[in-house]
Every structure is written in C-alpha cells, then in structure tokens.
C-alpha cells in the first residue's frame, strides 16, 4: 500500500504556503479560484439562456401565427414607461460595470456608491413595472383572471390608445389570441422581474459587505461574477423591449 512515486514529492506546492483567507483549500491558487468561479458563472448564465429560451420560442411561434392580435395588444403597453425602463436598466448596467472597475482599483467609496446606484436603479425598474402591471390589472388584461376582450373588439372604448393608433375592431377569434400575447408579456417580464428581485437582494448583501471592505483587498470575484449576472438580466430586457413593446407602432 505504498504511495506511488508518480505523486509529487512536494516539488510544485510547498507544504506550508501562505494563501489569502478567501482562498478555499481545494484550490491551488487565487488565480485558479477566480478563473474557476468565473467559468462557473458563465455556465450558469448558459442554463439561464436555455431556460428563458422556451418562452422566446413560444413568443416567436405565436406572434407569427397571430400577428394582428399581437400588434393591437402591444399597443396597450405604454412606450414611455418601456423606454424609460430600458434606459434605467442600461444605466444600472453602466453603474455595475463601474462598480467592478472600482473593486479592481480598490476604491471602496466609489464601489459602494456604484453598488448603491445600481440598487436604486433596480428598484426604480421594479417600481415602473409595478405601475405597468397595475394598469394591466385594472383593465382586465391578465390572462385567466376575468380577461376582457373589450379593448380589442371595440378599440374606441379605450380613448387614450385609440387616439394614437386608431386600431380596427378585431374579429372575436383573433381578439381571443390577445390573451396569448398577455400571457407572454406577464410570463417573460415576470420571470425577468423575478431575476431582478433576486439580483437586488444580492446587491443589498454586497453593499453591506463592500462597506466592510470585503471586495477592495484584491478579491473581486464576487463582484465580477455578480456583474455578469446583472448584465445578463439586462440583455434579456434588451430583447424583451422590442419584442413586446415595439412590434409595430406605426399602424
């Protein structure tokens, strides 16, 4: 039961090498740990892409089949709020990227500021979403909950939207398909919002730790990897926005 000579005699790794407190024992170096966790986060984002993908597929198929319904239903979304939300999220991506830079440059104050700004922008996004959802609920455009076809069979009953788009009244069967559009709207933005909420919660934890100086002593991986997650959530919205809000605003 002797150990094989193939096992190194302490050549590469000294027995009592110093390693920073944040290096886990199964890693040989800080670099390996950073590389590994970064790769792991990218793989996780891959799983998220495949998860969201199913909804995108459903969207592409149903939009192709029921285009008129999707156009008219999308007019119910407020383009001002949608554009504002897009700008908010892009800004939060910017502040997050600046946060990562601050951590790398070991500027604690700037890091905390950037994280707080990202946090606030995230909350603003959710606030605007709440306004939008509230409107949908009031107009009975939530699938499965007393869904109302009135805005589509009789567009004139919705004066604000009718003023802008002059939609034609839809036949009943095509009007029914607007419910599918709203299912996609709630499912996709809802799933996105869920990911935002999780992200904001983690941001809160990070602000707390950043103030204690945890990320400005050379160990930036947590901030970096969270940044990847946050940018990914931004990218999902970059596609949701045109797909849901901008189907056709010229008709």
């Amino acid at each position: 039961m002797s150990d094989s000579p193939a096992i190194a005699n302490g050549a590469a790794v000294a027995e009592h090498h110093e390693h920073p407190p944040y290096q886990r024992h199964h890693f040989e170096s800080v670099e390996q740990q950073a590389d590994t966790t970064n790769f792991a986060m990218w793989l996780f984002l891959l799983t998220e892409i495949m998860f969201f993908g199913g909804l995108f597929t459903a969207y592409l198929i149903l939009r192709n089949w029921y285009y008129p319904a999707f156009v008219e239903a999308s007019h119910q979304l407020n383009i001002f709020w949608g554009t504002a939300n897009t700008a908010v999220l892009i800004s939060s991506s910017f502040t997050m990227a600046m946060g990562v830079w601050s951590a790398e440059m070991r500027k604690k104050g700037t890091l905390v500021l950037c994280l707080v700004l990202t946090f606030i922008l995230g909350l603003v996004f959710l606030g605007i979403k709440t306004i939008e959802y509230k409107e949908k609920i009031e107009k009975h455009h939530v699938p499965g909950f007393h869904y109302s076809l009135q805005s589509f069979t009789n567009p004139a009953s919705d004066p604000e939207i009718y003023k802008e788009y002059h939609d034609q009244p839809m036949a009943l069967d095509m009007a029914r398909h607007t419910e599918l559009y709203f299912f996609l709207y709630f499912a996709m933005t809802g799933m996105h919002a869920l990911h935002m909420i999780i992200g904001i919660a983690i941001l809160g934890f990070m602000i707390f730790r950043a103030r204690a100086g945890a990320y400005t002593t050379g160990h930036v991986t947590f901030v970096e990897n969270f940044g990847l997650y946050w940018h990914f959530v931004d990218i999902i919205w970059i596609f949701l926005f045109p797909l849901l809000y901008l189907i056709s605003r010229h008709q």
Binding site: S29, V30, E31, D35, N38, F39, W42, L43, L45, L46, I49, M50, G53, G54, F56, T57, L60, I61, N64, W65, I79, T83, T86, A87, I90, S91, S93, F94, M96, A97, M98, W101, E104, M105, R106, G218, G227, L228, H231, F232, D234, I235, I238, F239, F241, P242, L243, Y245, L246, I247, S248, R249, H250, Q251
Partner: protein, 120 residues
C-alpha cells in the same frame, strides 16, 4: 499605474497566461451612451413602416446592443479563449432549436391553413 498596483499585490499572478485586463471607465461611458442611442433608434424605427424589415431592424439593433454589453460590460473582448468558446456555445445552442423550431412550426401552421404542400 494600475498594472503596477495589480502586480505588486499579486506577484504570482503577474506571470499568468492571461493578464487580467481592466477596462477604463471611458470605454464604459462610450458604450453606455451608445446603448442609449441605439435604444432611441429602435423606438424610432418602430414608428416607421418598413414592412418585413421592421422585425429585422428591431432584432438587429437588439443584437448590436447585446453584443456591446457582452463584449465590454461583461469583458468578453478581453477574456480567455474558454470564456469566448462558452459564450459561442451558448449562442449556438440557443439559436439552433429556439429559432429553427419556430420558423418550421409557424411555416407548417400557416401553410396548413391554406392547404399547403406536404412538406410544410
């Protein structure tokens, strides 16, 4: 100056196959502003009648914006080969079924309604 600070703190890391690139804030600002411009563009484009090109333009702008975020905010431009390969693998696995399938399915559905050929 930042390189020296980095190397001073991590003497073992300095030799690595991959130098850790730190993007300067100026680049982030440029990308941020570009993203806002593209957002305005895509909103504007939706008000213009372009027939079949409306969705094409919207998706193209979306892809450009996403590419900017991936390359610069997420740092893929300066990342290792493995990261780039992973991003590519994800994109491929995402587009192949998720775009191939809807195109086939919708073609079949639309064609059936008009009594189309057997292969649709």
């Amino acid at each position: 100056m930042s390189e020296q600070k980095q190397n001073a703190a991590h003497p073992e890391a300095a030799h690595g196959e991959h130098e850790h690139h730190i993007t300067p804030p100026g680049v982030y600002i440029v990308i941020f502003l570009s993203l806002l411009v593209f957002t305005a563009l895509t909103v504007g484009a939706s008000y213009i009648e372009m027939g079949i090109f409306n969705p094409v333009v919207a998706l193209a702008i979306g892809v450009i914006k996403a590419t900017l975020v991936v390359l610069f905010f997420m740092g893929v431009k300066y990342s290792t080969k493995l990261t780039k390969l992973t991003v590519f693998a994800g994109l491929f696995t995402f587009t192949a079924p998720y775009c191939g399938l809807p195109s086939r399915t919708s073609a079949a559905h639309n064609s059936k309604k008009q009594g189309g050929p057997w292969w649709r």
